[in-house]
Symmetry: C2
């Protein structure tokens, strides 16, 4: 926005019609004679006319804009999620307003305030645990919003579109246990302000009853974090036979830590990841991991939001499927399968 560019009344003048008709054409209304529509379109072409979104927003109270606040965009499954959201919104003529919270509730609410002021029509949030003030803000203004990457059941005032972190973690531990692993190292990212990680850890802990020995290690969510956590775990507990990492990125760090110590995967140590990032099928050995449907989640949430905004379709909670992707980083088990 910088130059006085063609306005709707210029197009009206140029086409010899009224601004109402031009508006109708621009918004694809029905009752417009084909010949008139053509005339308008040609005038738009000649004047290089593009409707002004601000004026449109002011008049309709809608910006065709959707805000997403995510913990980070680097180094993780979130990039894929965001890419899917952006593409879906884009295809429907919507624009993504992106903000990064760095996993901090304070930054999140700050970002939300800004995006709300920008007039975002809806919000996509990560997880279900948020500052009361943020949720109040959204509720008071009646701005639709969805929780993602989590599943808190089909009930609740705000729909969740995500997966069941608790259950997934349980099943991962079960998978390892079935293969004879009794002594697990669990590497996870920061638990603070992160209900997804907390749910996963709880899921693991719930399996302790199976007579497993669990060793948790919290670290920064990066390859370096996974590497150092693995090193610490190895020093602390030499009997570990398997490592469960709450992110493929951490698992890659584990690979490198093990390589440095000359320990082979999966013979000397089983490694299991989370996310099923693109490259996990390429590692040596290929990484056994949990497929989290990041792309599907992005498409689903963005698609639902647009539907809701356009046709008032109610937002519906969706539990997305996830599954263990068996590859080569978990062997038949330390004692073989009995």
């Amino acid at each position: 926005m910088a130059e006085k560019i063609g306005r709707i009344r210029d197009v009206a003048k140029e086409s010899g019609l009224s601004i109402a008709t031009v508006s109708r054409v621009m918004n694809g209304y029905k009752g417009v004679r084909e010949a008139t529509r053509e005339k308008v379109l040609r005038a738009c072409e000649r004047l290089d006319y593009v409707p002004n979104s601000a004026a449109r927003a002011l008049s309709t109270s809608r910006t065709r804009t959707v805000a997403a606040i995510i913990p980070t965009i680097e180094n993780s499954v979130y990039a894929k999620f965001v890419a899917a959201i952006e593409q879906t919104l884009s295809e429907q003529g919507y624009t993504l307003l992106l903000a990064v919270s760095h996993g901090s509730e304070a930054e999140e609410i700050e970002a939300a305030r800004k995006l709300l002021a920008m007039g975002a029509d809806a919000f996509i949030l990560s997880g279900a645990a948020h500052d009361r003030a943020l949720l109040d803000m959204l509720a008071r203004r009646k701005v639709p919003h969805v929780f993602t990457s989590i599943w808190a059941g089909p009930e609740g005032p705000v729909p969740c579109i995500g997966y069941d972190n608790h259950e997934i973690a349980r099943s991962a531990v079960g998978y390892l246990a079935e293969r004879g692993h009794r002594h697990l190292g669990v590497i996870h990212g920061p638990l603070a302000d992160n209900d997804r990680a907390v749910a996963r850890k709880a899921g693991v802990v719930a399996m302790r009853a199976q007579g497993l020995e669990l060793c948790f290690e919290e670290t920064e969510l990066s390859v370096a974090g996974g590497k150092s956590a693995t090193a610490r775990l190895l020093d602390r507990d030499p009997d570990l036979t398997a490592l469960l990492c709450f992110s493929d990125v951490l698992a890659l760090g584990a690979y490198f830590a093990l390589a440095e110590r000359g320990r082979r995967v999966p013979d000397d140590m089983a490694v299991m990841g989370f996310d099923n990032l693109d490259w996990t099928s390429e590692t040596v050995p290929p990484l056994t991991t949990i497929d989290l449907p990041a792309g599907m989640m992005g498409r689903e949430v963005a698609g639902q939001i647009v539907e809701h905004l356009e046709h008032r379709t109610p937002l519906a909670p969706v539990l997305l499927p996830s599954r263990i992707v068996e590859r080569g980083s978990v062997g038949p088990g330390p004692g073989g399968i009995s």
Copy 2:
């Protein structure tokens, strides 16, 4: 935007002042008595008032919004770049409008059209080669824009904020040549619609005069791509002693391809990357790569754009520093150093 929330005239009524005064306070104008300012602020508080951006934009012809169109957000140095842009804009009260072009000029211009209609105050583009129509559009509307990730000299109608891909590639080849490598495999991403990759390849080719044997392999920009390209290269040309990858992601793929064939880095094969992504210091062996200042570039371009928008400071081309980060993936050389 959904509910009739407090408007400026409500605040005016509530505070017993005029909307002009409220506006002055909201925009931090000087000539307002401290006592009145307080009164206004309190009224805003009570009514939970937030200025409407659309109305503001309509009235000022500015949206405090900056558009960035990038090839991809997944799996690469762009995530870091975008994160830096987002953070810098955010700190200055601006909002990022993000679009992904998937490296296609067609998608790029489509996205630009949309973002222009959204009223973006400025554009951040990747590379310097763009559809004429896109550049015309921007010029006609006098929307400031910057080319990034590239350096086309300090001249030119559009400022570049980036690095010299040609020179960087040259220096990388020089580095390998100095260590006795005469037979290089070069793995790069798609060249189509990507002047950065083209410049790098040209930089490599320019070194051929040094009596080097060069073997190029184009592939998809992913770990899988790097892996398969390496495999092809190895089959095609068994005498290769070094692999130069135009992205760390490709280099990681090379690592895995070599591991699968039992070839060690750097003894059996030197590997060099591009980008200096966070995890490259953690691989085994740590990856020797080129540090591309993605974060710095994001901060610089976003910072300059905001300065330009706020104070008309001219946009200035900047050649960002890059350097070879020596780590363990390039040994002393196949024949030792003579």
